[in-house]
């Protein structure tokens, strides 16, 4: 299945806070023709990005590597590690390793090729300056939105 098989566009929203903390954002995105799929960790998002095609990815900056983590094991790198993996760019030295993630589900296997250049929005209540500088150097389009998210601006950007 690819994103084009839907009559609407599909966004993958990766945030360990879950959809219950974004009902307004999801509601407005759906009114604007988007369908939102949710993932709560880097591992869960990797699995979905290997399996399905998306028109956009909304990515929380502080994200656990696995859903079983109740904290933010990778700290400010959590969401960004997913972005490096998605773009096929090795993460900078010092970033946590992701190779051991969900080995039974493909480990560090790449995403679907169609997802490589997908439009990505990083969201955070707080942007770590080091990480923000690193992601601004990444290939492809990456935008940063602060929480609470100005959802109309997000929709305009995705449009």
């Amino acid at each position: 299945m690819t994103a084009s098989t839907y009559s609407h566009r599909v966004a993958l929203w990766v945030d360990d806070d879950g959809p219950e903390r974004f009902p307004y954002e999801e509601f407005l995105l759906e009114r604007s023709g988007w369908k939102v799929r949710w993932a709560s960790s880097v591992a869960e998002a990797m699995e979905r990005l290997r399996r399905d095609c998306f028109d956009a990815v909304v990515l929380d900056q502080f994200l656990p590597l696995r859903s079983s983590e109740t904290g933010h094991g990778a700290g400010a790198w959590g969401g960004c590690l997913l972005l490096y993996w998605l773009r096929g760019v090795p993460p900078p030295a010092g970033a946590p390793e992701t190779t051991a993630l969900d080995e039974d589900k493909g480990g560090n296997d790449p995403p679907r090729e169609e997802n490589r250049g997908v439009r990505v929005v990083i969201v955070s209540a707080f942007f770590d300056a080091e990480v923000a500088a690193a992601i601004s150097d990444l290939p492809g389009t990456v935008a940063a939105f602060a929480k609470p998210i100005e959802v109309q601006a997000l929709i305009d950007y995705l449009r």
Partner: protein
């Protein structure tokens, strides 16, 4: 929902008492009037006494004679309890005798009779160190006498002894001086006409009022944060004046005020909404205010300047009117923020605020649509309540965390109303996750115990919130009450969900350093604060908090997380010394 006002938990921690001593008028012609001292006193009374800032009970002592001042200080320290925070502020002339001993000038001070007409620093020191309070702050905005020169008042310098050298004993004692012995202190630029506060006190007040002194953005202004703020700003305004700080046996930070930068108050509960009043949630520039549907009055407009402008709105959800104004900083601003700024409350607060504002905004949209299904509104209203409860607990736990010690006021009373109140409060939130709640009362229901109801309410709320967050959907949380031996009552909260972290000690949760008061707080989210505070409260009651878990057969969880479910139980005990308590098995 039924919850105790936050203020009622205050007694568990401390009283905040401030004695403001200001002398601007002097009988002796050799001492210049100090109109700025009275202005200082008014400012301190306004800022330190503000319920949203310093939260101090202020005792002003204006233009008093030396013996009256000494007596007032003695009364002040004698009445203090261990948990109290004492703040004493001098705004007056400072003088030294021929031996270099420091005195504070009173209204009757004669410069040639300091011993009998001025307030000896040694006496103040003795009184302060005798106070039972473990946390004492002394701020000396004083000088050594002199005359104005081009609008500034130079004070006599002396190399032999500095102000801070006099205050050298006693635990938990912080002394801040506007300057040391070798410097002058500067007042405002005029003697006559409009009085202005001294530069030092003016900056101190500005740091609290603006919230700029809250360096780490945790919502509290510590005395060392305040000192650093004043020190930095005074270097810009008057580079020659160098304030000093001395800490004597102070462990941790003494918090002198809450910060408006991170003003966090709680949304209304349904009961409160029905009874009137209003609360707000405010973080940075975004805020949500919940109020009864009484319309926006002028007071609201003053307090919430965004109301009525684009970007703000209101909605009626059930009996509750929600005003909101959400103004997130643009990404460019967010990118420039330093890590420290949002460190402590980032995950604890902004997540719930995100959830609360999102639900409130959607409620507004739906409420404006004709024929909206009430069933669609309910989950959003529950979400608002859930986030409000998370914020309430965070705030109460943080309040205790920042206290030097925890004191409980035990009173013999029935346990059942507290349990009912806590379980009722969490019921809706559990329903959101399709989780049931069962109360198993395994002893006589009119059980009376000696405990602090507000503190035990917080313990139970923390344990229930823990269960709510970590249990699996479609399970049941069980609250149990039973006798444990002849002298203990055990209250347990049990759920089926993720196992607890490995660091939990099975026998006594309080025996582990669950929550580390350091930078590590910034790298974790939501682990341990509630449990640590609960353990401390239970310990203060003479009981203990314990943890137990066992794996269950099968797996549960999401597609990507196949977790072994655990039966998890937190149990705390309370002493039940008398058999006449009514408890039986």
């Amino acid at each position: 929902l039924d919850q105790p006002p936050a203020e009622e938990l205050k007694h568990v921690t401390e009283r905040r008492l401030a004695l403001v001593i200001a002398v601007g008028q002097y009988a002796s012609e050799t001492l210049q009037p100090l109109p700025s001292a009275l202005e200082d006193a008014r400012g301190l009374e306004r800022v330190l006494g503000d319920a949203a800032l310093g939260q101090f009970e202020i005792r002003p002592l204006i233009n008093r004679a030396a013996h009256e001042t000494i007596a007032a200080i003695e009364d002040f320290v004698a009445e203090a309890r261990t948990a109290d925070l004492l703040y004493v502020h001098f705004s007056c002339h400072g003088l030294k005798d021929v031996d270099g001993r420091l005195y504070f000038a009173a209204s009757n001070t004669r410069t040639d009779r300091l011993f009998s007409t001025a307030i000896s620093a040694a006496t103040v020191n003795d009184l302060m160190i005798k106070a039972r309070s473990r946390r004492r702050v002394l701020v000396l905005d004083c000088c050594y006498g002199g005359a104005f020169l081009k609008g500034v008042l130079p004070r006599r310098a002396d190399r032999r002894v500095g102000v801070t050298e006099r205050f050298s004993d006693g635990g938990g004692f912080v002394v801040i001086t506007a300057s040391d012995a070798l410097q002058y202190v500067f007042e405002g630029t005029t003697v006559s006409g409009e009085a202005t506060p001294s530069v030092f006190t003016k900056l101190l007040l500005a740091g609290i009022e603006s919230g700029e002194a809250d360096e780490d953005g945790d919502g509290w202004i510590g005395i060392t944060e305040l000192y650093r703020y004043v020190n930095k700003r005074i270097a810009d305004e008057l580079p020659v004046q160098r304030p000093e700080i001395n800490n004597f046996r102070v462990q941790g930070e003494i918090f002198v005020a809450q910060s408006r930068n991170v003003s966090l108050q709680l949304p209304l509960s349904w009961e409160e909404a029905r009874q009137g009043g209003s609360r707000q949630v405010s973080v940075g520039e975004g805020e949500v205010m919940l109020s009864i549907p009484a319309g926006i009055d002028d007071g609201d407009k003053r307090r919430y300047p965004g109301l009525g402008r684009p970007g703000s709105g209101s909605l009626l959800a059930g009996d509750l009117l929600v005003y909101f104004k959400v103004a997130p900083p643009p990404p460019s601003v967010a990118l420039a923020l330093e890590r420290e700024r949002f460190g402590r409350f980032r995950h604890a607060v902004l997540g719930p605020v995100q959830g609360l504002t999102s639900a409130a905004r959607l409620l507004m949209i739906l409420a404006e649509e004709a024929g909206v299904d009430q069933a669609r509104l309910e989950p959003l209203i529950v979400r608002v309540e859930a986030e409000a409860e998370v914020l309430r607990l965070w705030r109460e736990n943080q309040r205790l965390y920042y206290s030097a010690n925890i004191e409980v006021r035990k009173r013999r009373q029935p346990l059942r109303p507290v349990l009912d109140r806590c379980t009722k409060r969490v019921m809706l939130l559990l329903r959101e996750r399709e989780v049931g709640l069962q109360l198993e009362w395994r002893c006589r229901e009119n059980l009376h115990l000696s405990f602090d109801s507000h503190a035990i309410d917080l313990v139970l709320s923390n344990l229930l919130d823990n269960a709510r967050r970590y249990c699996f959907s479609r399970t049941t949380v069980i609250v149990g009450v039973q006798l444990r031996g002849p002298k203990e009552i055990a209250i347990s909260v049990e759920d089926v969900g993720h196992s607890g972290p490995e660091y939990l000690d099975s026998e006594d949760v309080g025996s582990k350093q669950l929550f580390v008061k350091s930078d590590s707080l910034r790298t974790i989210s939501g682990q341990g604060l509630g449990l640590a505070m609960s353990a401390a409260i239970v310990k203060a009651h003479g009981g203990r908090l314990s943890y137990w878990s066992e794996p269950l057969a099968g797996t549960a969880g999401t597609d990507t997380l196949k977790s072994t479910p655990h039966r998890v139980r937190f149990t705390f005990t309370l002493p039940s010394a008398q058999r006449s308590s009514g408890a039986n098995q």
